[in-house]
Structures are given as structure tokens and as C-alpha cells.
């Protein structure tokens, strides 16, 4: 992206705001969508969360202090929004987060927006067995290919801890795939 400071100024200036925001949307809507989808699994929920995320980004641009990168800030909002949805979904069904995640995985088999090869389904089932933080770290590194340094800024966790978390997750998933 062009000089971030200049771009933020464009986003804050009422005259250039809309054009700049559209540019931001074109750049980040796709990676943010897949980041959210990896967490919530179905398209409808991912669509809702992405919309809430982008509206929150727009409404809070004036409060963005530039302490982290715009990209990290947006990912942080998206992650929090997705986690909120997961909690609400479990609460609504009166079950734990883990049970809600298992239910969502079961529904994946009939989801029209899931490619549905056996290996892909098994991989999703394996991810669902991980603790929530490990799930996020694994999907961000494996599917989204986000660098550890950037992930550290987004999740506010040290690079070392993230690397350890990822390797543990990989081991667990491989074991799951071996036995299932």
C-alpha cells in the first residue's frame, strides 16, 4: 500500500474519505472475509461479521491512533467481531463454544459454499478440535499465510508464543488426520 500516513489522512478527510474507503474495501474485503470465514465457518455468518467489521472500521477511523498498522487494526476488529458471534451463537443454542463449533462442522457437509472434498472436511474437523486460540493461529498461518510478526501485532501475542502454538496445532491436526 502507498504511504500509510497519507492514506489515513485521505480516509479522514471528508472530501476524499469515500474514495479512500472504497479503495480500502477493495484491498481488504477478501482477506478479511476468509479470515472471518475460517473462524465462523458458514458464509451467512461470515457475511454478517464482515459487514459489521467494515462498518466499525469506518465509524472508528477518527479514533485510529496509528499505533499499529491499519491492516492489523482491521484484522483485530474482524477477529473480535467473529469471536463475539461465536459466543452469541453458543449462548443462543444454550451450549458451549466447543459444542457449537462441532455443530457448525456437521453442517459444513451440506453447505453449498463448501467444496466438500473428504480431506478438506477432515481438516476442518481436525481444526475444530483445537482450543480457540490455536485454531486462530493455525488458520491465520496455514490458510491466510500471515507472517508471525504481523500476527503478533494483530493478536497481541509474542512471536515465540505464536510459533509454539502453531507447531502444537500442526502436530494435533496431523495426529487427528492419521487416526481419522
Amino acid at each position: 500500500m502507498q504511504d500509510e500516513k497519507a492514506f489515513i489522512l485521505e480516509l479522514l478527510n471528508p472530501k476524499t474519505q469515500n474514495v479512500a474507503f472504497q479503495k480500502l474495501l477493495q484491498l481488504y474485503q477478501k482477506p478479511l472475509y476468509y479470515h472471518i470465514r475460517n473462524m465462523v465457518l458458514n458464509h451467512e455468518d461470515a457475511d454478517d461479521v464482515l459487514q459489521n467489521t467494515m462498518l466499525k472500521v469506518f465509524r472508528n477511523l477518527k479514533n485510529f491512533k496509528g499505533e499499529s498498522k491499519l491492516y492489523s487494526w482491521m484484522y483485530r476488529i474482524a477477529t473480535n467481531e467473529a469471536l463475539t458471534l461465536l459466543q452469541q451463537r453458543a449462548k443462543k443454542q444454550g451450549i458451549s463454544n466447543v459444542e457449537a463449533q462441532q455443530k457448525a462442522i456437521e453442517k459444513l457437509e451440506s453447505d453449498v459454499y463448501f467444496e466438500g472434498t473428504e480431506l478438506q472436511l477432515q481438516l476442518q474437523k481436525a481444526i475444530a478440535t483445537l482450543p480457540q486460540k490455536q485454531q486462530i493461529v493455525f488458520t491465520m498461518r496455514y490458510f491466510e499465510e500471515i507472517k508471525y510478526e504481523e500476527m503478533s501485532d494483530i493478536l497481541n501475542t509474542s512471536v515465540g508464543a505464536l510459533k509454539a502454538s502453531y507447531h502444537i496445532a500442526v502436530k494435533k491436526i496431523e495426529d487427528f488426520l492419521k487416526t481419522n
Binding site: Q22, Y33, N38, D47, Q51, R59, T117, F143, E174
Partner: protein, 140 residues
């Protein structure tokens, strides 16, 4: 089955798909939503201009109206002499006049119109001394 090595084997895709043209539609919907939000928050410059013009017009109309009313009110004020002359020229009976007077007004008039005792005595003395008594008595 060959064990899966996630870090060295070919990457497995997540398998997630989106509806056709989803991102184009999403962008359009979100920008529409943002424009709506801006519309409800920000008063465009042209609207501000309209408000100023309307306020100025209202103030102008009010001041013209007030000035006109004040001038008319001043013109409509009739002084006592004009009323007196008007009444003198009209044939108005006493009963018609008294209709507009209160009891207190009538008493005050009686006091002013009818001479008091000292005044009557003075007239009597003057008449007694006068040579034209008969003439004066006829006048009463």
C-alpha cells in the same frame, strides 16, 4: 494411507467458496450503507445555505410586518380634541352618552357640573346687588 505432513506436503485449501460476484455486491452494499450513514449525520453545505437564507427571510418579513403594524397603530391613535370635536358635531342624545358611562363617571360629572353651596351663595349675593335682577332671573 500415507501420513499427512502439513508443513511439507502440498497445501490443502480451506474449501470455502463464496456466491458469484459476492465481493462486488458486498462492496456496493457497504458503500451504500456508508452513504446512508453520512446522509443522516452530515448536513450538506447547500442545506446549510438554505437554512441561512430561510432564517434571513423570516427575520426580514418579521421586521417589515412589525414596522407596518407599529406605524398603523400610531396613525390610529386619536387625540382627545378630535374626539371632542367629533362628538360636538354629532347629534347624540344624553341617554346615548350615559350608556357608555359608569355610575362613578356620572357622579364625577354631577360634582363638576353642579355648583357647590358657596358658589351659589356668591351668585345670589351678586344678583341681589344687581340692577338687572329680573333679567338674570329669567335666564335661570
Amino acid at each position: 494411507m500415507k501420513p499427512i505432513d502439513l508443513e511439507n506436503n502440498k497445501k490443502i485449501a480451506s474449501g470455502f467458496k463464496v456466491p458469484d460476484h459476492y465481493f462486488d455486491k458486498f462492496e456496493a452494499t457497504l458503500m451504500e450503507e456508508i452513504l446512508k450513514e453520512q446522509g443522516s449525520k452530515v448536513v450538506p453545505l447547500c442545506s446549510r445555505k438554505k437554512i441561512w437564507i430561510s432564517t434571513l427571510a423570516a427575520v426580514l418579513l418579521l421586521s417589515i410586518g412589525f414596522t407596518t403594524y407599529w406605524n398603523n397603530a400610531q396613525e390610529n391613535k386619536i387625540d382627545a380634541v378630535t374626539i371632542e370635536n367629533y362628538l360636538a358635531q354629532q347629534r347624540i342624545s344624553t341617554s346615548e352618552l350615559t350608556k357608555h358611562l359608569t355610575n362613578d363617571d356620572i357622579e364625577a360629572l354631577e360634582e363638576n357640573l353642579y355648583p357647590n353651596e358657596a358658589y351659589l351663595e356668591a351668585i345670589e349675593d351678586h344678583l341681589l346687588e344687581s340692577e338687572n335682577l329680573e333679567y338674570h332671573s329669567n335666564e335661570f
